[in-house]
């Protein structure tokens, strides 16, 4: 007994002794743990509605997400905003319930319902407690199958949206992004805002909403994703009960015009008198989600544009020009934008542009050094470990399988695919996708202070725009 106590004392003395700890030795991580990837179960109803189910029984919570595989890129010409508007009208009235009754019913259950659209899809989701499965599903299917799109609710939301579009002019960050997309994509759908603009929204009618709904909200164009405290059997049963009567229909195919980069780099300036910062957007057209370069581009964008990337380290941590500088590719069904961005102190607008171009060129001209490359690549691979924590995160991941037609085994192959990316690959795709001679550069800031320094840079003709991206004479 005594000796045991002495032993414990000795042991604790060694481990506790502060002086004995050599802090100059940086401890290394032990062996990487393995992530148990969610098991994806599938089913399909007779009407073509696909079900994806992941059982996750940690908490009595379920998330349900209906993914409709048509989004804002199917907005009819001149009617941008239809997909988003259709989603926001979906819970504004059904054959048996008013807008207020629907909201009250979801809120009373503590269920969080939301409907939205991206360029690639439309999404209805609800997070709820397992004990309310039946009631929540009944409501959810009612808004999905029986929307009435009342005229008065349409008008209310239209006014609200027009007001919020006008408020966007107040936010230089939003102005910069919208102008950038509009100039880069011209008449391609990606040049539009998902919410539409004041002209297109003014021109919308309930008819447009009904048409979009009838054409695309179809079981054979949709997947219902369940993640949470629910079994496959329960998910199938309840889907059949409430969504079995949903009628399938043949689906219109989409045609999208091609997009093209500008022939030479141009700079677009939106004046914001007195602005303490300049918002900068720089980029060109990137690549679609389906590109074989996806994994290499993901590593490249991490090196250049993540919060530990080169732009951030250079413009924020070394120069102190900004609160943050980033770059990323938007991977969509068609080639989305590559864009680098920051809000910088007015006085260093020109210096910041020089650094942006320097870092973009460096990606093309130099191979990334070994240590740096290993660090970034490891980060990209290991961050997968925290991407499957909550039902909502898992549901997000599954939605990408649905939208981009990826196999269920996709997540288990990711590490290997990233592992195979080499430094030479990164340099090669940088040369292919970062195009310093064909950039769109948008700056939103105080013209009086920034114009002269920008002219001296001589990196492209300077054109003046209004807050909506219309070129001023």
């Amino acid at each position: 007994m005594k000796s045991l106590i002495i032993y414990i004392l000795l042991l604790s003395m060694t481990t506790n002794a502060f002086s004995q700890l050599d802090r100059t030795i940086q401890p290394q991580p032990v062996a990487l743990p393995t992530l148990q990837l969610p098991t994806i179960q599938r089913a399909e109803l007779a009407n073509g509605l696909k079900l994806l189910i992941v059982e996750h029984h940690k908490l009595p919570v379920v998330t349900m997400q209906l993914v409709i595989q048509t989004g804002a890129d199917a907005d009819p010409n001149g009617k941008s905003g239809v997909a988003r508007f259709t989603a926001s009208m979906i819970d504004e009235g059904t054959k048996t319930k008013s807008s207020l009754e629907i909201a009250d019913a979801f809120d009373f259950l503590g269920a969080q319902f939301s409907a939205s659209a991206s360029f690639d899809g439309s999404f209805l989701s609800v997070l709820f407690l397992k004990e309310h499965l039946e009631k929540t599903f009944e409501l959810f299917s009612d808004v999905l199958l029986n929307p009435t799109f009342p005229q008065n609710e349409f008008e209310r939301l239209q006014k609200e949206l027009l007001t919020s579009l006008s408020q966007q002019k107040d936010r230089p960050q939003t102005v910069a992004t919208n102008v950038f997309n509009k100039i880069l994509y011209e008449n391609h759908p990606y040049g539009n805002q998902i919410s539409g603009d004041s002209t297109s929204v003014t021109n919308l009618s309930v008819n447009d909403i009904e048409n979009f709904y009838k054409t695309y909200y179809l079981p054979n164009n949709a997947t219902l994703i369940f993640v949470g405290a629910i079994t496959k059997k329960e998910a199938i049963k309840i889907s059949e009960t409430f969504l079995g009567q949903w009628k399938k229909k043949s689906l219109a195919t989409q045609k999208i015009q091609a997009s093209k980069n500008p022939d030479s780099t141009m700079m677009y300036l939106v004046d914001k008198p007195g602005a303490p910062q300049t918002e900068i957007r720089i980029g060109n057209i990137g690549a679609p989600r389906s590109t074989k370069d996806y994994f290499t581009l993901s590593v490249a964008q991490h090196i250049l544009g993540s919060s530990s990337g080169r732009l951030f380290l250079n413009l924020r941590e070394e120069k102190g020009y900004t609160y943050g500088a980033y770059a990323n590719f938007s991977f969509r069904k068609f080639a989305g934008p590559f864009v680098a961005s920051a809000g910088v102190k007015t006085e260093v607008t020109d210096s910041s542009l020089i650094e942006f171009l320097f870092e973009i060129n460096r990606m093309r001209e130099e191979t990334v050094p070994d240590t740096e490359f290993t660090m970034y690549k490891t980060a990209v691979i290991q961050r997968l470990l925290r991407m499957f924590e909550t039902p909502s995160q898992i549901s997000e991941q599954l939605a990408s399988l649905v939208l981009y037609d990826l196999p269920d085994s996709y997540f288990s192959t990711l590490s290997n695919k990233y592992e195979r990316v080499s430094q030479n690959d990164v340099q090669a795709i940088s040369q292919k996708y970062l195009l310093p001679q064909r950039l769109v550069i948008v700056v939103v800031g105080d013209k009086e202070k920034i114009l002269q320094p920008l002219e001296k840079l001589r990196i492209g003709k300077i054109v003046f725009c209004d807050t909506e991206g219309n070129v001023l004479k």
Binding site: S19, Q26, D170, S307
Partner: protein, 476 residues
């Protein structure tokens, strides 16, 4: 909660876009850890009980361990009990500037190594500074626990050798850019400063925001940094939560190994409560580069989790959460005179406040807004609320409480909540008591709270109007 948040996360842009929402609702969410456990305990069994082990090191560091092996990650979350309330007027923004320096390197982990290790692991880290506290968190694959504890303890014990004048100057620039980005170059961005300047007297904590003023940031010296660190960044002023895929005995040993030898600091002076009550309504009008005028009504309420706090949180729900809430339904949905409306109650350590924010639609003045809000408030004060409204709020609060337990780390995640309870109440596992507060609220409590705290003639009324349109402001 008024916090200044410094994201080093890859989702920074997305995060920042929800920053306003976050500012308004952070504590509301923390506060909405409702009950219903009493109704639901049988159904959920023990799943809502967070298993924790708490102990204290000899140097005063409080340690809370929470094991959750469902994903192979670990969250290291540390709170220091210091915020902008500990600053002096003329030296504002300092706690937050200091928070930035914590990421810049310490004696043995120099020059950005902190970010390199954590980002390089595929992890995330961040920090934020509020009125009363500063928090830091990282989420990493669980095999990185030891490197993170090495980093975290090094900046607690050995920060100063890593801080140079050059580092300070650089982060000062970054923080000034943050101020431009998040306040000066944002529509309505200066509103919060005006509100707190008006709500709290000169020289009293909460009169200034954690972001501070540009002049004070310029004035911060290296000596200030050193004094601040020595006083506040001591183990006896910190609370460390480690949660996730951990082995408890092994983790205890690592904590002792890395933090055990850091010497205890002095006793920490705490700012004291002062009489901040308003004697009359204060009206302030500010012009901004905006399309639409926005009205802010603010009152003093009660300290964090004190009597009345739960009733006021439920009141804010009934006023502005969901289409059927009183203000939304009346101003936005039916009359369509407002574009949006929100309300919130937030208790801090020295005081609390209740706020209502509404944006007028084109063609309406802020006097119209003030009158419409007064009408709705008076209805509640005179006739109380409906049973269904109360139950709807309680149900949402209970559900939100369960939803927020889904996430281990990050702001408002499980480990952050454990620390919040521990720092302010000395007990990390206060979930049940906290939940019970909401369950206990009766219809009359909400009515009384409205009448007691939301006095019409003792509040701050801030009007933000488009440049040159002073006539749109709220007039008495």
């Amino acid at each position: 909660m008024i916090v200044v948040s410094d994201t080093y996360s890859e989702k920074k842009i997305a995060y920042k876009s929800v920053m306003k929402f976050f500012l308004l609702t952070f504590l509301l969410f923390l506060g909405t850890m409702t009950n219903s456990l009493s109704q639901s305990r049988n159904q959920f069994g023990t799943s809502l009980n967070i298993p924790v082990e708490k102990y204290e090191l000899a140097n005063g560091l409080q340690v809370i361990l929470h094991k959750d092996n469902s994903v192979p990650i670990v969250s290291v979350n540390i709170w220091y009990y210091v915020g902008s309330a500990n600053e002096k007027q003329g030296r504002t923004g300092f706690a937050h500037l200091f928070e930035h320096l914590m990421f810049e390197g310490s004696e043995h982990a120099r020059d950005g190594l902190y970010d390199q290790i954590i980002d390089g692991s595929g992890g995330q880290n961040n920090g934020s500074t509020g009125f009363d506290r500063t928090n830091y968190w990282s989420i990493v694959p669980s095999n990185y626990l030891e490197p993170v504890l090495w980093l975290e303890s090094d900046r607690m014990g050995f920060l100063l050798p890593g801080i140079t004048q050059e580092r300070l100057d650089l982060q000062r620039d970054v923080v000034k850019n943050e101020r431009r980005q998040s306040y000066e170059n944002q529509p309505y961005g200066m509103s919060w400063m005006k509100i707190f300047e008006s709500l709290y007297p000169e020289g009293v904590p909460y009169h200034w925001l954690p972001i501070g003023s540009q002049e004070d940031l310029t004035a911060a010296s290296l000596d200030d940094v050193k004094d601040f660190f020595r006083l506040y960044y001591a183990p006896n002023n910190a609370s460390l939560v480690i949660g996730g895929d951990i082995d408890i005995p092994k983790t205890k040993q690592l904590v002792e190994q890395y933090f055990g030898g850091i010497p205890r600091g002095k006793n920490i002076p705490r700012p004291s409560s002062q009489d901040v009550s308003l004697k009359e309504t204060k009206r302030v009008v500010l012009e901004d580069n905006v399309q639409l005028p926005r009205l802010y009504l603010f009152w003093h309420s009660v300290n964090m989790f004190e009597e009345g706090d739960a009733s006021l949180i439920i009141l804010s729900d009934i006023l502005s959460s969901g289409k059927n809430s009183r203000l939304y339904k009346s101003l936005v949905y039916e009359q369509q005179i407002a574009q949006d409306v929100s309300s919130f109650n937030e208790g801090n350590v020295l005081d609390g406040y209740f706020g209502i924010v509404v944006t007028a639609k084109e063609g309406y003045t802020l006097s119209d807004m003030e009158k419409a809000i007064n009408d709705e408030l008076k209805k509640i004060m005179l006739s109380g609320i409906e049973a269904r409204e109360l139950q709807r709020s309680k149900n949402s609060i209970r559900a939100n409480f369960i939803y927020q337990l889904q996430q281990l780390g990050g702001f408002g995640g499980k480990t952050d909540l454990l620390n919040q309870y521990n720092v302010f109440f000395g007990n990390p596992n206060r979930f049940n008591e906290d939940l019970q507060r909401y369950q206990n609220v009766a219809k009359e409590d909400v009515q009384h709270a409205a009448a007691k705290y939301l006095e019409m003639n003792k509040r701050v009324v801030l009007s933000i109007v488009p440049k040159g349109k002073l006539e749109l402001g709220a007039k008495p």
